[in-house]
Symmetry: C2
Subunit: 721 residues, 2 copies
């Protein structure tokens, strides 16, 4: 009989398990890949630290925590770690809550557990008798699940766990994805294929992706999902669809994820046969109450409603002479008894064209402060216009201290290159979260407005408009996954740095190899500034293609309403460029607290990145570089495009360190990004040159075509609408 | 040092390679799974038979043949078979053409090769010196590739190759998929997600799926693909899109697949700025000539055009008082010099409502016989109405002997349960192909009309409307893949039996285990008759939901044209049901040759499966079972629905034999199919009962709701439109 040594075997195992599957690295597994760690010393150390597991509890959530531990440890360490009843030996991983595990209850964690709330967890070294072990403890099963994901992440990212001591609790209660998914499976501003929700086959057939979606969300602490588009269809509220919603909710529930729906404000008329949707009408109130009770029969832990009302043609309370608060409160009273909430969007603009659209949300909502029910959140976009590559923080943050303000970020890259540009959005998120509102003096950052620290609201929330579709890799661009990840991590803990988030994601998604990590992380961290430079430098905004928002369109001036035109926003003329929002202009600056107002109001103190947002600046204005504005604008555009070429070079260097499929995928998309960056650069520089009448600096190559060429480019069938 | 026996190792290998990948059996690999064969004796025998490979040639096609052999043999046999220069030992697989391989040229295959044309291949035992070997020989590289796929199939399906002797050549030249894919990535009558063609990212990013699509097609001998919907958009003919088309063509070319496009007949007006699209207008002729030449600069082997003209609102030559032949010939002259063809669809019906829509194609096209250019095929649907679950063969087959007739089958299940019903369409395809037209006396089957055997046309073709989308498993239903497979296999060789095709597909896709094969094959082979019974038994047709074609709709009577109504087709009244197409009725029967006409014309000789297609039959008519028509109709509907329950039971029994993921997927879809079969049964029986005024036979359970319930069901956002 021929015999083999264990080392020969291990080598063979590795070869076989990598080669025989026939599957390529298609990105489906996201950051939860759990491939065997490459460093044998690390593997040995982790195996010693986790020799067996005690996990008590029987709930569905505990079951999925067990599944995840099994899958994760088997993958990362290549061993089946046994589940046992007692911490009989060194290196037992003890997991659970004091109420379901006597062992956990015996560990003297009471004081610590008292500080971490319903979703937090503790991971630390602990002794049982004479053995050294690690405990993952929480007050609830979902806290346990979050702890399990965190623990697996520590291993997956090569962290030292020999002295692990993590007390971890989310800073914001409601961490929610907003899916702008239509019932016909198109996704508004979605660039990753069709909607994940296959309504036609639900509830009978439930794709395995639903569970993997829930795993991914839970792994970063996302605990809610709004399934449907804010431009809502009342059909979702019919029994035919509620049955389908329930099937999804049942899959998400063990992962701590509650389901929310968008409420079409006119549903009582469209579905209920009422003559009005007036929120103060008793029949309307009764209709929503009954409808809500019906929803709870399908989904007992239904989270509540997200509402876009009186905005871009959507119906709302103003149709009946009522306020946003009247509308929100009526729905809040319907869901309140069951613990539901209402997220009422402040992204409003109506048919009266204001002098400055950036001012409208503040103007409409600030007077309503203090009039909303306790279970209403006002959901505010990060900036006052619309998810531009860069905007100053929304002036409503800090302006409504009696109302819980919910942040709305856009993860899908509507204005940031769709799913073909590599842009790491953590930089954008952090920039807004750490802008200082001065609402209660220096140190009143936006983050403190939305978490409980500034105004002590019990209710806190943050939303991200999802970039997820049914493409195999979920987000279209392999690096789009990083933005889903970053949103979740920051929603849980906004103090995490961009650097740490990028580092974690790259390690989990690609490799712990420093030769890969260092250059790619640098590229990621610079990527948002790169995009701002080739699209909208120096505070420019809203100059993209009409309607589909694809490509440059600074010349757009024929839209059906003025504030859909690019010229409305950049106001280029022979003198200069930029929107005068100072006290001498639209006075939007005065929506900010005085120190911020004053800073933005003067070109001397206004950060240059927001210069043209707040000021109409002469072409020969001297910028911080010493160059005149026109030249600076050119160098920004050219610099942005050039940075993409550098990204391409960087990416080419890491080819040996990762799999061929994802390497080629990203490489091809960088090709698209490079082309489109030049398209933006050339179109914008030529367009603004038609006003500045100044030459492009001589050391910059000239655009290959005249302006008319770019103006003439028409794109039909652009995705995302 | 601890040592292990080879048996322990093998067990471990198997466990690891199945469990560690983290990937589930999601159906992506189609029938080309190449998993290691389970039977060690078979593996040993195949390894002996293929100990090394001599494969000469450098073309891209030979390279992909080499790739496929490597992938297939490594997967199936678990070994890397070496490629060598000489047949130095027993069991050399010798692959190639006489023109690129001296070894092949030396093998005395000349006479055999002379019989197999450009795409055929020979696989047989051969001696080189004293060694026994196997040769795969062809006249062309693509013939070699087809031979390689066939050889791998023999191994994958456990065939004995010890005396292999296959001389295999396709019976039809053009074997083409028709994609009804729109440029916005919706797919008309597509139920498997969005279009595979991601136009937005093409040409820069080309999904790996494009290559796997080409592999799958080549493996069954499909050699052409029409990328765009027959309801055509002229935009595909612009440089912006031709660049994208070229990127796809480049990927498909090595696999012997030519790309075709649909031509919007009014393109010269819409794109070219001409005032007319009159096919006899010199400017129009010149425009298409120039456009075609432009296309060939992008795609040097462009296959030609597929055209839907003067049908369902599409523009066409009749708009200018010209005939279909005028239109087709004009395009044929444009593509002819480059070797292109025109496939001109006979599925026409215009705004004048005929007495019987089933007659219209014949009426319009038969007079044109002999007037088409040599490079025109007239593409005819299998039946005269529209891809119903069962139709008699189209009377045009055999009626235009001077014109090459191309068969158009629908693989996507527009009228056969979308992607949620398991229906094996080989039965439908074969039923049509082997219907006898009597065009040249008995034995003039439809198959002989479309292959070269009856009318000796040089040009032959067969088309299948694809059921492929970007869902992970390509076709939505795991068994939908079988219909793609069956179309390809029958396009190559229509003499293959349904049984053999099902057997091959099941073995390749699931398992060679007889305990699985036998029951599942039986279920597949019965599945089409099952569906006909619960949807449209006894010759009923076109009684589905309006517009979206989802679910039953025998009551539909308000469509914007009479021949879109169900009542137009079933004509149920107090006396009976069915469309009188006899010589005393619409006389559609007289479009068939006399023996067929006479058979269909009498209820005595008309096959019962077509009874209500050709006859308006009294409710108390005595059917072959001895039951009156009404009772027989009830038993058919109930029997169909019951058969689906039996399918469910059968499927449950095979759970231990296959992977959990596909087991559950099919099980869930059978749940949908069972519900919908009952829905069809109850709705149709209750509806027809409102005319027959007879009771449902007492041994059949009563429908749970009254007819109004079914009439009221409204479905919005049905996929496929």
């Amino acid at each position: 009989m021929k015999l083999f040594s264990i080392n020969t075997l291990l080598l063979l195992f590795v070869l076989i398990s990598f080669s025989s599957s026939g599957y390529a690295e298609d990105g489906y597994r996201l950051w939860l890949r759990y491939d065997k760690l490459a460093d044998p010393a690390k593997v040995a150390a982790y195996r010693n630290a986790v020799s067996q597991i005690v996990l008590d509890g029987q709930s569905e959530t505990i079951q999925v925590a067990r599944e995840e531990l099994t899958l994760g440890l088997k993958g990362l360490l290549g061993t089946d770690v046994s589940f046992v009843n007692q911490a009989t030996k060194e290196g037992t991983l003890i997991v659970g809550t004091p109420s379901t595990s006597k062992l956990i209850a015996s560990l003297n964690l009471k004081n610590q557990l008292a500080t971490i709330g319903n979703e937090g967890f503790i991971i630390q070294r602990t002794k049982v008798g004479t053995t050294q072990n690690i405990v993952i403890a929480a007050n609830t099963d979902v806290g346990v699940l979050y702890g399990v994901f965190h623990f697996l992440r520590l291993i997956q990212t090569h962290q030292d766990i020999s002295a692990v001591n993590s007390v971890n609790t989310p800073k914001i209660n409601h961490r929610i994805l907003n899916h702008w998914d239509n019932l016909n499976r198109t996704v508004e501003r979605g660039y990753a294929g069709a909607s994940l929700w296959d309504w036609h086959k639900l509830p009978d057939y439930t794709s395995p992706r639903y569970k993997d979606y829930a795993r991914a969300n839970a792994s970063v602490g996302i605990n809610g999902t709004v399934l449907t588009n804010v431009n809502a269809n009342a059909l979702i509220l019919t029994p035919q669809y509620l049955e389908k919603v329930a099937a999804l909710a049942n899959i998400f529930r063990p992962y701590g994820i509650r389901v929310y729906l968008t409420a079409r404000f006119s549903a009582p008329v469209e579905m209920g046969g009422l003559k009005t949707a007036d929120p103060l009408d008793p029949q309307v109130i009764a209709w929503w109450k009954q409808k809500t009770e019906e929803i709870y029969t399908y989904v007992p832990d239904f989270g509540g409603f997200l509402v876009k009302a009186n905005s871009e043609g959507q119906p709302g309370p103003q149709n009946y002479g009522r306020t946003h608060a009247d509308g929100a409160n009526m729905l809040a009273d319907a869901v309140g008894p069951k613990g539901g909430i209402v997220m009422w969007r402040a992204f409003v603009y109506d048919n009266k064209i204001p002098d400055d659209r950036a001012k409208q949300a503040y103007t409409e909502f600030k007077p309503l402060d203090g009039t909303f029910r306790k279970n209403v959140l006002v959901q505010v976009k990060n900036g006052a216009v619309d998810f531009q590559p860069r905007e100053p923080f929304h002036p409503l943050f800090g302006a409504m201290p009696k109302t819980p303000m919910m942040m709305e970020f856009q993860i899908t890259q509507e204005y940031l290159g769709f799913a073909t540009h590599m842009v790491f959005l953590a930089s954008l998120f952090k920039e807004t979260l750490y802008a200082d509102t001065y609402a209660k003096g220096k140190g009143s950052e936006v983050a403190k407005v939305i978490d409980r620290s500034l105004d002590k609201h019990e209710l806190t929330g943050i939303a991200g408009v999802a970039n997820i579709g049914d493409e195999r890799n979920w987000c279209g661009h392999p690096f789009g996954q990083a933005n889903w990840y970053a949103f979740g991590r920051l929603a849980w803990d906004h103090t995490l740095s961009e650097d740490q988030i990028a580092d974690e994601w790259l390690r989990m998604t690609f490799s712990n190899d420093n030769r890969f990590l260092k250059p790619v992380k640098e590229m990621m961290l610079a990527s948002r500034e790169t995009l701002v430079n080739y699209m909208t430098p120096l505070g420019l905004h809203h100059i993209m293609g009409y309607n589909h928002h694809y490509g440059p369109g600074p010349w757009v001036n024929q839209a059906s309403r003025p504030d859909w035109n690019s010229v409305y926003y950049h106001k280029a003329d022979s003198i200069g460029v930029g929107f005068d929002r100072t006290t001498k202009g639209s006075d939007a600056v005065s929506q900010y607290f005085p120190p911020v107002r004053d800073m933005f109001n003067s070109t001397q103190t206004c950060p240059e990145k927001f210069l043209l947002w707040f000021h109409h600046v002469p072409w020969d204005y001297k910028t911080q570089s010493g160059r005149i504005l026109w030249d600076e604008l050119c160098y920004r555009y050219y610099g942005g495009a050039k940075s993409v070429q550098q990204m391409q070079q960087t990416w080419n260097t890491i080819q040996p360190m990762i799999d061929a499929e994802r390497f080629v995928h990203v490489k091809d998309l960088l090709k698209v990004q490079e082309k489109e960056a030049r398209w933006w650069r050339d179109a914008c520089v030529l367009y603004f040159q038609s006003f500045s009448k100044r030459p492009i600096p001589s050391d910059l190559e000239k655009p290959p075509y005249p302006l008319e060429h770019y103006v003439k480019i028409k794109h039909l069938f652009v995705p995302g609408i």
